[in-house]
Each structure stands twice: as C-alpha cells, then as structure tokens.
C-alpha cells in the first residue's frame, strides 16, 4: 500500500475522560458544515418517521462491565484522518485524497462519482454518502475554518472543538512532538482505533483516568479532633466519688 508521508498531520484527540456525551460536537459540526463548503448536508424525513441525515460526527454510548461495576463511555467518532487511509487508494476517481501539506483526508465533490467504494474501504464507518447530492462526504477537519484568515487566530479550529463544553476535543499536529495533542497522546496513553488494520488513524483517544483515594484509619484519629473540645461534664458531677469512699 502506498505510504503517505506528510510532514504535518492534523488530527483530533478525544479525551474520553471528560466527554459527557452531550452531542454538542455533533450538531455544531452539522451546523457549520451544512452551510459551509461541505454543504448542504441533507436530511431525509426531517419531520416524519425515521428522520435521518448526513452527519460527520456521531457520539455513541457504550456500557462496560456488569452492575454495579458499570462504566458508561461516551464515544465521539468522526473521520480519523488515517495516516494510511484505506479509503483513499481504492477511490477510482481520485476524488478521495489525502493532503500532503497537513494529512487531512478529503473528498473532492466535483470528482466523486458516488460509487461508495471508499466507504466500504473505511473500517470505521466514517464516511457518509449524501443521499441527495450523491457524493461521498465526511469530516473535513473543518479545513474551511482552520486556515480561514478572516477568523481570529483562536477560532481557526474545527467547529466541534470550539463547541465542546468539556474541551474533550483537542486539535493539532500529531507529527509535531511538542504540540498539545502529541503531548496528550504521549502522556495520557492516547491510542488508536482498530490498530489491527494498519490504517494508523491520526485521531487518537485518551482513556478514562480515575482518581482513587484511600484513607488510613490513622487519619481519623487526630489531636485536633473537635469532639475533644466538647468535654462538658457538668451533668455527671453529682453523686459519690472516689473521694467519698476511700480513706488513706
């Protein structure tokens, strides 16, 4: 398979430790992209049975373990911008491509014939055909935001990243060892999905990290225990005492 060498590889790093599954990234992505250069993203049956539409980003939920040791994981997933994207070489038209300058995997809607083959070739289910424009779409890493010099510097980030209230979505260059994302991957055990296929997703996930405490029994015994101040004995001062019954 073709080796894609890009000096820069932009990507998202999703911190499962803080994602609360709010779907902000889902609809903000939809909103940005539908009237942006990836749009319009169509919706079918919008007010009818089984509403469905093109979204670039979904948040799923998994339950791990058995009650009461259950973990609930909220799991956002969009195109992972693979370093060896299996979806690209299979595309017969070249509509699917990986940008050399930043590693973003994109679809050229003008070339796409809508054969869906690339979506078969993506193990992650990250591509969605637009049922009305009949071209393949997917997360663009907001390529139409991140280089837009009309936007203030700090807003040149993907829409989902700006939207996310828990900042569970980090954005940056995973090839730059000093970037925030690389550091997070390195230090917090960032991992890739389905590593078995060699697609080398650029997007990484940071695992849950748990804070645990254990107090030793000694910590309950303290000289400054306020109970010691409540030594009021007035009630017990009546009646006989040792003074009354001993004679030495």
């Amino acid at each position: 398979m073709k080796q894609y060498k890009t000096s820069k590889q932009l990507a998202l790093v999703i911190d499962l430790n803080v994602c609360v599954g709010c779907h902000a990234c889902v609809t903000n992505c939809k909103e940005w992209n539908t009237s942006g250069s990836a749009g319009a993203l169509s919706d079918d049956n919008p007010y009818d049975k089984d509403p469905t539409g093109t979204f670039f980003n979904r948040v799923q939920t998994y339950e791990i373990g058995e009650y009461p040791k259950t973990e609930t994981i909220h799991f956002p997933k969009s195109c992972l911008h693979c370093e060896e994207p299996p979806c690209v070489p299979v595309c017969p038209t070249g509509a699917s491509y990986k940008r050399e300058e930043d590693g973003i995997v994109l679809v050229d809607y003008d070339k796409c014939i809508g054969c869906r083959y690339c979506s078969w070739a993506c193990p992650y289910g990250a591509r969605e055909i637009d049922e009305h424009q009949k071209v393949m779409k997917k997360c663009t890493l907001c390529v139409d935001r991140i280089y837009d010099t009309d936007l203030p510097e700090e807003e040149r980030k993907p829409a989902c990243v700006l939207a996310c209230p828990t900042s569970a979505r980090l954005f940056g260059d995973v090839h730059d060892p000093d970037s925030e994302v690389s550091e997070a991957i390195r230090e917090q055990g960032g991992y890739q999905l389905m590593p078995e296929w060699g697609s080398k997703p650029s997007n990484h996930y940071l695992p849950r990290r748990k804070q645990k405490v254990k107090h030793s029994p000694e910590e309950l015994e303290r000289v400054d225990n306020p109970l010691k101040k409540e030594d009021y004995q007035a009630e017990d001062s009546a009646g006989p005492s040792l003074d009354d019954v001993t004679s030495w």
Binding site: K49, Y62, C91, S119
Partner: protein, 325 residues
C-alpha cells in the same frame, strides 16, 4: 453488507459475458489445434461475441445505477495505479474492445494468417482472441479484487474470491454458450456442456471451500479494538442516532439469520446441484428445454450467490452501529 442489486447484476452479467467469450474462444483454439472437429464456426463466434458483448454492456448499464454521478463515470479510469475499481473500469472496455474486434474479424471472415506452425495457422482472430482472453482474465481478477483487496472484509479477503468470480463467471458463460450452440452448433454442444460441467464442479468446490473458510473466520476487529477498551463485557447502548443512517443502510442487510441461511441453500441448489444434475442428464438426452432450464436455474442461483456474497460479509464498521436508544 447490504447487497446492491446494481452490483449483483453487474458482476454476474459481465462474469457470464466473459465466460461466453472464453467458451467460444476455447472452442476456437481447440478447433485450430484440431482437438475438436474443425468447421467454419465464424458465424457462431460472431454470435457468441455479440452475446458476450451484450452481457458486458448490460452489466455496465446495471453498474450505472450504482453511481451517484454516472455522468462522471469516465473519471473512474484515472486511478488505475491504486484502485482495483479503477482497473476494472479500464479493463472492462478493453475486454469489450477486443471481443468486438474478434467479432468483427469473424464477421468479415478477415482471417489473415500471421504465422504457421506446422499445420496450425495462427491467424489474426486467434491472436486477438488470445489478447481478449488475457483481458478477460484480467477483468475477472479486477472485479474480484475490488472485494478481495479489502482486508478487513475478511470474508472477501481471500484468493478464493478471485477463483470464485472466475470459475462462476466461466461456468455460467460456458453454459450460456452451450445453450446458444444447441441449434446453431449442435456438434459443439457437448463440448460446451462438458466444459460447463467441469467448471461448475470446480466452482462448486471452490465456493464450498470459501463457505467453509468463512464459517470458521473469527472477526479480527471486536468492540474492544473498535473503541480501544479492554473488558470482556462491552455493550453498545446507543449508536448516536435513531432513524438510521448510511452506516445502517449500506452495511446491514437487515435480514434474519434464517433468511440468509435459506439464500445460501437456494444458491447451492440453484447454482450448483440442480444445474449439475440437469446438465448431466442433458449429456444423455440433449434437449433445449433442459439446458435452458439449467441456465435459468444457474443464473438465478448466481444472483442468490452474489446476494449472499455481499450479505455474508461483515463489515467492521458494523461494530459501531449495533443499538439504537
């Protein structure tokens, strides 16, 4: 996967078309080599080629229904370096071209002899036929590799896929040719029928082998690798949307296990057992109806086989789309 009828028709029709060509060309070679009785078969070669072409065109036509933008289909020829689909798109017209030339040569009986080896005249049509044959095989490979090259579709990612496409296409093509030859080339009928039987038996073996293989496959991707969490009890609770999406429409057949199993039985009977029986009988008492019946059974079986081929493949993306709520 959700079987797409456009693709089912495409692959079965062009496979058969290729097979028809292979059948007539095999006979051509045999007769040149004097293995079979020589006769002036030009007319039949023309008919065969035209039928082959017809099937290829039909297949191509069906494929357009799969495309969102058929008007841009030409673009699909650009990425032959990496894409088997692109290669298929390139090879298919080449096959058609050579089959066409082959037909034209026979039609005009334009039989310039190029070289002679002993008693054997190698004429132009023989050479063009050889080239066409090569392209036909290339096309089988391209078509099959579209599926076999997707390594995470484990059910497809196997040489058996290529073998099956080739054998099934050839077998159906030979049978179709046998049918064609019943009146026009009665003397060659048994030739085609014999080959059909041989190919069908081989295809049967190879297809059963792949069924056997696929049954024993263990998915390499699991929910654990899909979300990167190690625990033996992980259940999806929500896929993130409720009314379905491309992910649920294109990658799930949505049919019951029973239905799938029936389709398997159906294709095994219709594609292999029934035609094999009929064709064996036909050997002894050739009849147009019998071979016709075998052909019909076979094609229906082929459709079922192809449907099953797609439905059988379990895409790893499905791990992400298990449960709504």
């Amino acid at each position: 996967m959700q079987p797409a009828f456009s693709v089912i028709f495409l692959t079965t029709l062009i496979g058969m078309g290729q097979g028809v060509f292979l059948a007539i060309y095999t006979e051509h070679v045999y007769s040149v080599l004097n293995v079979v009785q020589q006769s002036n078969n030009s007319q039949f070669y023309v008919i065969g080629s035209v039928v082959a072409l017809g099937l290829l065109v039909l297949g191509l036509f069906a494929s357009f229904f799969h495309l969102g933008h058929p008007e841009r289909a030409w673009r699909a020829a650009t990425m032959w370096r990496t894409s088997w689909l692109s290669r298929e798109v390139i090879v298919l017209p080449i096959v058609m071209f050579f089959v066409f030339v082959y037909a034209v040569l026979h039609f005009f009986e334009f039989n310039i002899v190029l070289i002679t080896f002993g008693s054997i005249d190698v004429n132009l049509s023989l050479v063009i036929g050889a080239v066409a044959t090569l392209t036909v095989f290339a096309l089988y490979i391209c078509t099959a590799m579209i599926y076999a090259s997707l390594k995470f579709l484990q059910e497809w990612h196997c040489v058996l896929t290529v073998l099956n496409y080739t054998l099934l296409g050839s077998a159906s093509g030979f049978t179709a040719t046998a049918l064609l030859s019943f009146y026009t080339q009665a003397d060659k009928f048994n030739f085609y029928l014999g080959w059909s039987l041989v190919l069908l038996v081989l295809a049967f073996i190879s297809r059963i082998a792949s069924l056997y293989r696929n049954r024993r496959l263990r998915p390499i991707s699991t929910v654990q690798t899909a979300i990167g969490i190690r625990h033996n009890q992980i259940k999806q609770k929500s896929m993130g949307f409720m009314g379905g999406a491309v992910n649920t429409r294109d990658f799930f057949h949505g049919k019951t296990r029973l239905f799938i199993r029936s389709i398997k039985q159906i294709f095994i009977w219709l594609l292999f057992i029934v035609p094999l029986c009929i064709m064996t009988l036909t050997f002894y008492s050739p009849s147009y109806e019998m071979i016709g019946l075998a052909m019909i059974s076979m094609y229906l079986g082929l459709l079922a086989e192809r449907w099953y081929f797609f439905a059988d493949a379990n895409h790893p993306q499905n791990i992400y789309y298990q449960v709504i709520s």
